[in-house]
Symmetry: C2
Subunit: 602 residues, 2 copies
């Protein structure tokens, strides 16, 4: 019965470290240059004075031996924190160290005892503190991204509708002029012939039908080839270079599936699912059948084949990275194993910490969040289906609060090639304007699919969210010079986004009290309060709405009783406001709302 007691815990408790992901098993995410609150519960038994520091280093590479030390301060309720800024992308580790400070304990007690007329013990022979107790917590992993992981304006276009890579390079001038940061291209690879889809997803393609870009692979090659109709790989390289000249980045679709004509089908049959007769099975979610696509089997029974497939998928990314691509929009990641992403993304980012992966998943909530936890830099969201004041307030509050804010970076897309939803279905231009203003100002990343600015609003049917004559199956010609194009409006919104750091942080947002359910108002601000923005949106595209919006002036660093300035970035008008209650009148014929820069009178 003699057991030697070994402590399971260190002398000082260090608990509940933040930032962290829900399971704690993956790195929390932050961005370069953004102040981050690093915190933990720290306490011990007795009354001794504690000290704590957060030590941080880049976990890999030549700089990893250097640890920066940040003193932590007690902020109440046994919580300690330090505000730190990570200045380099890559995997970091944070170690929290805490110890009993014998000197400080003695000094504090001596002062109290002298005040009480007692005789303090001699210095440093303190009778309260035993030998200096010391604990270490961590290392806690933190992944640092470049800022584009959190903030950016995206524009999606089909290169084949713009005249291939060369035509797209020309179109980029206009996209850049609208103020976008990222241009996202659907797959640019050869498209299969077998079971090619016709217009509107019909089963029989005519000889001139181009097929779906997501039916990847043909005799010309697979995921590392480009479709001959778009140009050559050199043309693609020129497109990437032109984008860079214009201050744009090219994001590429990463869709891990194959047409029946993909080279892998003959070279690696073990990477696909097989029927009883040995033939390869196409994708299906009965009764839906996707005859033009073979899904990959990420768990082939032969372990060597599994490793081969996973490595081949990684090499696709490496290939496009070598051609200057740093952002990958991952098609339907929820239909591939979570384990695959948990391996692939860190494997790529360990060599290329500036590479970003966007999860293009519209699926169940737990799955959406887990994809972010295991490594996705950014995620599609339910924004498209959140329309009322209550829905938007609740959803954005969830996205900008712990635990999500520490690892899930939302992207708000009013439309995509797959989704024409809500007020945009048959909607007027006012509906398009209001959804864009919401998307562009509620969170730091938003995107539109081309045609949005022309108010394209025709659904394929009442029953699904597809577009009529979807660009996924045919080539579109559009008149970008249309008189009622929303391009000038979008340009103004993007200009305001670039002018205001408040609109590029995910953390600082507060919804304003107001009585009218068709008016949504929210304030956003930079960490130092040097920049404060108020957005007031009319959720009704068809009617004038009036309301009184209540501002939390103290939180926004604005005076309670003297005037402050409200400058409307969209209308170019300046108001002098006094007090927390502000009346607004929003006419959809004039615009979707206010985008106001608030500042004290200088």
């Amino acid at each position: 019965m003699t057991r030697v007691p070994e402590p399971l815990l260190p002398p000082i408790v260090i608990d509940d470290f933040r930032p962290r992901t829900p399971s704690g098993a993956f790195p929390a995410k932050v961005v370069e240059g953004e102040p981050v609150r690093v915190s933990a519960d720290i306490y011990t038994d007795g009354h001794d004075e504690l000290r704590a520091v957060a030590r941080i280093h880049l976990a890999t590479g030549p700089g990893s031996a250097t640890w920066a030390e940040h003193p932590m301060t007690a902020v109440g309720n046994d919580r300690w924190e330090a505000v730190v800024t990570f200045d380099r992308a890559g995997r970091h580790e944070v170690v929290v160290e805490a110890w009993v400070d014998l000197e400080a304990t003695w000094a504090r007690d001596a002062r109290i005892m002298l005040d009480a007329g007692q005789e303090p013990p001699p210095r440093r022979s303190d009778h309260v503190a035993p030998t200096g107790r010391h604990s270490t917590g961590g290392p806690h992993p933190v992944w640092v991204d470049r800022p584009r992981a959190v903030a950016g304006a995206w524009y999606e276009l089909f290169p084949r509708s713009e005249g291939g890579f060369a035509g797209t390079a020309e179109r980029l001038v206009e996209v850049a002029a609208m103020g976008f940061d990222v241009v996202y291209l659907p797959p640019v690879h050869p498209i299969g012939r077998t079971q090619r889809k016709g217009p509107d997803n019909t089963l029989a393609a005519g000889p001139g039908d181009p097929g779906s870009p997501w039916a990847i692979g043909g005799p010309e090659g697979g995921h590392t080839a480009v479709h001959p109709d778009l140009g050559t790989l050199d043309d693609f390289d020129r497109l990437v270079a032109r984008a860079r000249q214009l201050g744009l980045e090219i994001a590429l679709d990463y869709a891990l599936q194959c047409s029946p004509d993909h080279p892998w089908v003959s070279e690696h049959p073990a990477w696909f699912h097989h029927r009883a007769d040995g033939s390869i099975a196409h994708a299906a979610n009965p009764p839906k059948q996707y005859q033009d696509i073979y899904p990959l089997d990420f768990w082939p029974s032969d372990e060597a084949e599994r490793r081969g497939l996973w490595q081949a998928c990684r090499e696709i990314v490496e290939f496009w990275v070598s051609h200057g691509v740093r952002i990958f929009l991952v098609d339907n990641p929820h239909t591939k194993p979570m384990a695959f992403w948990a391996w692939l993304i860190p494997a790529v980012q360990s060599l290329h910490p500036d590479v970003l992966f966007l999860s293009e998943a519209f699926t169940r909530p737990k799955v959406m969040v887990k994809l972010a936890e295991v490594g996705f830099s950014q995620s599609y969201t339910y924004f498209t289906w959140r329309r009322t004041k209550a829905e938007l307030t609740s959803y954005v509050t969830e996205l900008t609060s712990e635990p999500l804010v520490d690892h899930f970076r939302p992207a708000f897309w009013p439309n995509t090639p797959d989704i024409l939803a809500g007020p945009l279905r048959g909607g007027n231009l006012a509906a398009f304007r209001l959804r864009l203003l919401l998307a562009a100002t509620l969170v730091p990343t938003y995107g539109i699919y081309s045609g949005f600015e022309l108010g394209e609003n025709q659904p394929r049917s009442e029953h699904d969210e597809e577009y009529a004559h979807s660009e996924k199956y045919e080539i579109k010609a559009r008149d970008w010079s249309a008189a009622d194009s929303l391009a000038p409006f979008i340009t103004e919104v993007n200009r305001a986004r670039r002018a205001h750091p408040a609109l590029r942080s995910l953390r600082n947002i507060a919804f304003c009290d107001s009585a009218n359910d068709l008016v949504l108002a929210y304030a956003r601000w930079s960490d130092d309060l040097a920049d404060v923005v108020l957005v007031v949106v009319n959720l009704d595209p068809d009617g004038v709405q009036e309301d009184t919006v209540w501002l939390d002036l103290e939180r926004l660093g604005l005076p309670a009783r003297t005037p402050f300035v409200a400058y409307d970035e969209l209308r170019g008008e300046t108001y002098s406001w006094v007090g927390a209650a502000q009346y607004v009148r929003l006419d959809p014929a004039v615009g979707p709302g206010h985008l106001l820069h608030l500042r004290p009178v200088r």
Copy 2:
């Protein structure tokens, strides 16, 4: 650059297992016989049918090879659960297993395809599901206590005021008659002479002063000896046996500190803190000085001494366990290392799974909760300082919700020898009745310190919460036969507690809407809804209060429009009620409120 891809995650995600403690590093706690919801998020990529089971075994001892298997069911939002009952105290482990069910997937798809006029693939050569994917989560530790860990009525008394062990054995008859389950004794060990405290905590004890029982140890022995004035160890054994006869359990104080006369002081000087001159330091929290107590140094610089001290502390517990004690009330556990408790409690319980430890800590919230997480079976609470309707509602809701409900078992004590607080200070008997009714019915464990039933209400001063003429420093004589004793009222409350399983579960409580801030109403129920209790308390000891209380009849399994029975356990009256809104009129001269058994008409 060739890296062999190894999956970090299994094919099926198993996440967020419950029950669990906040850090996940310690066992969650349940009790024998109580239905427990075991749950996890379980999902995988694609559309295949999943199956999941929870496998459970006792982790130690001869039964550990036997695993019980409980099928889990999907309850929405990717959550799966099984309701299980643990029937034996001790450390258990729960493993969650999930797998893709190829047969079920095939059957589901075949049915859908046939309905859609498609031809399904042959059975078991399913083209959607690859080789049977399979994942395991855990093992997750769960500690199972006997029910007394959660539910019980406690009575604290000083044996020296009752005539030692023999007199206490007689007094137990009355305590048992009042319906208590546990009798808790302050330390029964020899008391030091050096620096002994006099009445009211004065520094100079007179020759007849008995000193504080917490100044443990004298020439007669230390923590494993009994004070000669109380009787012999045989007398103590007889007291334990008598308690058992009466259906009572003896709980012993476990106070790890020594008087200057404790044998350890000379035998193990290294276990104490030393001043510069080599002398041993008394306890202090400047300017407060506790001259009659030497605290132990749980981290002596010599590791062998640390092990010796920790082992000796454990042997104290083992000694009293060998004398029939199974509950230890731990004095000020927050002044000893968390690491010590994280080692001691499982070490004792691994041999004696029926032993319970109550944390007698009134300290900061994070520390209170962590003591429970590392192993304490039950915990003192802030009940004494929660008095208003809002405070009580919010506090009890926190205690009965995740994450606390999975590891922290609250004990509500209206008074203790250290604390005379709130409405009891100079309060009338109505105040005592209302605080008792709250404590006895808000959570399953409550306790009083003797004298409560006599309405002892005199504080030592306006500035502290001590009693005048505290029993901690002197022997008290009381007239238990006083005409206005609350003993009959307490007896009725304890009888109702024993009659109603609803009052012995920590999980099922709902506060009722009502307009009057001085009326608190709450329903409690057994898991199977076979027992439903409604408590309505007048928080005003001085005036009549009226209110309309709203019941959630659907949740309580009661009819919405036809009569149901409300039987008042305290007044012995039966009412026929109809509907959710019930008017109450509460006169403190009649009683503190209603304790109603609600049931459908049979």
